[in-house]
């Protein structure tokens, strides 16, 4: 199974993730797309480690998953705080950063 397949699969996933981040209005979807992107990265790590026959890739996946978990936890905490504050989590409403 040539490695390009795995990488292209990861690319597709990553692409979906990016599009999700860019075009979804709802913050929750953005977070989910980010998870998707992280998984694409994981896939690359694992297939890389299998191909190079060294296990560092897999260990990196652990760390990536941990980081993803922490990120999701804090992200969703913020979503809740935002929701409580604004009553909605549609991104149009967060205009504070206006230039």
């Amino acid at each position: 199974m040539p490695i390009e397949y795995y990488f292209s699969l990861a690319l597709v996933m990553f692409l979906c993730g990016v599009c999700g981040v860019l075009f979804r209005r709802n913050i929750l979807f953005v977070l989910m797309s980010i998870e998707l992107m992280l998984n694409a990265v994981n896939l690359v790590f694992v297939s890389g480690s299998t191909f190079l026959k060294n296990l560092d890739g897999q260990i990196m996946v652990f760390f990536v998953i941990t980081v993803a978990a922490c990120e999701a936890a804090v992200g969703l905490a913020m979503v809740i705080a935002l929701f409580r504050r604004y009553g909605t989590i549609k991104s149009e409403f967060f205009r504070i950063l206006r230039g």
Binding site: P2, L11, F29, E35, T50, L55, I59, F62, L76, T88
Partner: protein
């Protein structure tokens, strides 16, 4: 031969579900699509021989993180209509096209620069033991830092989500 079959099946479903995650209206559907996507991804890992990683993927990712997403969706109890996102404007399509084209090009250039041979579907023997050994020797410091990271996440999320008294 069966390898090809399995891989292509998994790959197909994964692409399908990841597209679903992005396009679907209802957040719960998106969450379920994500679950399926991750589950199948765990399948791919197992297929490649990274058993422990697959297990972790399912336990932590599917079993915990997406559950959290589900919880948040349920807690926020968003009314579906509220989530109807407005008709995407033209420039969004344009940008979408550009982004896809860009990534495709980058991917293509990267892939064809890879001069790797065929990856033998060499399922590694049960490597959990080796993974553990490496983790606890070479990657000692990241391991400790991970614990600190988790501590930070705990304190952070609790502080943010707690109802202000």
């Amino acid at each position: 031969m069966s390898d090809q079959l399995v891989f292509w099946g998994l790959a197909g479903f994964i692409t399908l579900s990841s597209v679903a995650v992005v396009t679907v209206r209802n957040p719960v559907t998106a969450a379920v699509a994500l679950v399926i996507n991750l589950f199948l991804l765990a399948g791919v890992y197992a297929f490649q021989g990274a058993d422990f990683v697959a297990a972790i993927q399912i336990i932590v990712y599917t079993g915990a993180i997406v559950v959290l997403f589900l919880f948040v969706i349920m807690i926020l109890n968003l009314d579906p209509e509220h989530l109807r996102s407005p008709r995407p404007r033209i420039w969004e399509h344009l940008v979408l096209g550009v982004v896809i084209a860009g990534f495709a090009y980058i991917g293509y250039r990267f892939l064809d620069s890879l001069d790797v041979g065929k990856v033998a579907s060499n399922r590694l023997p049960d490597n959990t033991y080796d993974v553990a050994m490496i983790l606890f020797s070479n990657y000692l410091w990241p391991f400790e830092i991970v614990s600190i990271l988790i501590l930070l996440a705990i304190v952070g999320s609790v502080a943010i989500a707690k109802k202000p008294k």
